[in-house]
Amino acid sequence: MPELTPSSLPAATVEKPRRFRIPLVWIIPLVAALIGVFLAARTYYEQGPTITIQFKTGEGLEPGKTRIKYKDVDVGQIAAVALAEDGSHVVATARLARQASRLLVDDTRFWVVSAKVSGSSVSGLGTLLSGAHVGLDVGKSEAARRNFVALDTAPAVTFDAPGQVFVLQADTLGSISAGTPIYFRRIEAGQVTGFRLDEEGKRVEVQIFIKAPYDRFVSADSRFWNAGGVDVKLGPEGVQVNTESLASIVAGGIAFLTPEGASSEPARRNQAFRLFPNRSEALKQPHSQVLSYVLRFSESVRGLSVGAPVDFRGIPVGEVTAIRPDFSVGATDLGLMVEVAIFPGRMQIHPQPGKTTYFGKDARSGDFRAFSDQLVTNGLRAQLRSGSLVTGQIYVALDFFPSAKPLKIDWKHVPPLFPTQRGSLDELQTTLMRILAKLDKLPLDEIGQDTRKAIASLGRTIDEAERLVKRLDGLASGDVRDTLVEARSAIADARKLLASDAPLQQDMRASLQELGRAAQALRHLADTLDRHPEALLRGKPEEKP
């Protein structure tokens, strides 16, 4: 074995100082430990409350990712999503930031915010990119709460929105749904928050929210109507098109207004209003005073419908409530009874100079009867008039007819029978018929024949005179001949005039023919008008075979 030469020197032992010195290096783990403790403490301190929220489905909820936002600020995160034991809903556990603990009160509400496109609004599109998050609406209660049930959809109105809630009652829901906008003078002033059927199922109750500052314009007398879609009305006034806004055409809408003269005292919370089907219905005056009359017409009432207005020189003062044939005993001919309701409240009356009164408020039976009688004596009658020549609708007009036959209101009749006047169109028709009847009676043929005979005999007479003159011509002398020549030329002229192809005879014949044709046309016109009053405007309708 080769020699192994040690080249090592004796190793000197090194004394380790035995003092209990803690090397500086121990600072490092100390620092690390401190950092760890600090982090832990900070995490623990910053840990906010843990809550549970019940959702219908877990859609949009990702544990560890979905965040909870209040006013778009991150306040927490969904930590876990689990199915409830009975599988009927989903329970999400969420951890909130510490500052958020004061937001968790009894009536705080949660919901999932996702993109929503509805007829009247589009919201939450940001969530398409970033994923859904949970929205939060802080309630006003004082009691803290840690377990919540989420709403199905975002609440229409958050707690902190200023405004007022009311209730509308309607027969049908129509095109109204949660979120339907409510307009005031075409400004969006609020929205429908919900609806439900009342207990008997007879009406629909719609809860609405009117936001500030429009809520103070809602008074106890305000009228609400369904303003959705396009309101087209064809009436005696003509065609009316009414719409609130483009959105309301699509999504429906409700509008409200406080009528003139109504009280402007703000309505109280949750006050109920009736929801009218359209604007004109809504703005009709409240009719505390309704006077019913019946009008008897013996002319055609075609074109008059229930609801047609009763008009006084352009002002609607009432409406037709019923139309029925007259079966009263002793009537001379079959007429039609039109019942009307008059709203005296619409009329402003000066029974005494300087004193204005609204009939709705001041009418007392006796005074009013006397006043009405006075009016009727002065010629106030009811007449059917054509409202719209386009649609052929007619309405009842009250007007003064100074030349009318003296009539009285029959107060004994129930309802009182108001005197009527034949309608002007009807008058026109009747008059035309009379003229035509007269024309018809003219013996035009006979007159023509007689005329012809008279002309023929006249011709013969002139021939004879001519022969006489010729005879005379042979006998008479120069003067006489001159005279005779003159007479002859005069007779020749007369004959020319009276010849069968003489212009006069022709003219007369032509005129008679014209007259005959005119009479026929008039008769036809009267006939047509009788059947189609609108022909005056539209022209003759196609003759059907």
Partner: protein, 224 residues
Amino acid sequence: MSRQRPFVARQARQAGLLNCHICGQLSQAPAGGGFVRCPRCRAPLHMRKPASLATTWALVIAAAILYIPANLLPMMSTASLLGSQEDTIMSGVIFLWQSGSWPLAAVVFFASVMVPLLKIFALVYLAASAQRRSRHRLLQRTRLYRMVEFVGRWSMLDIYVITILVALVKFQGLATIQAGPAAVAFGAVVVLTMFAAMSFDPRLIWDPAADSAPSLPDPDSDHA
């Protein structure tokens, strides 16, 4: 390395001594061979790493084979609003270069493309030269071995990059990243080359030099 006065180079093997790789204790090799443990720390003792060259060759070849799919298959796929895109290691490097972060591109290129390749080449060279019992450039080869050992772990860089990217970019709807099959292949390459380096016994480099000197009959018969 400090060159002291010239000395006679003697290797432990020639002296019949086993060197414990854990505690450094030298101990006498038993005459008949066999399995022994270190007297001090009880670690298993071997004269040389068992089946060193064979294991190294096998692992290097496997790593070389897997290197191809690791670079051809997509490493990660990015799905975003703009469409989806698959990236190999090289295309990721190109993307980094083109988007302006060329230092990063250089780092990733070096760590993920060059290093495994160089490692494989180096290991092949080391194994081949040891097998051929070459006596040249002993020191350089030892240094090369040290480099291979040191650098090996840094090839894992791209794997970790993928991990973080996949874990972070999980925005449904905006962008998501998923790891691709190349990640598995690449991970395998790294692991294999690390094992290959670990199984190569660097003392094999020096053995031919020592063997040329007159020495004891070889007591250890279980080396490659």
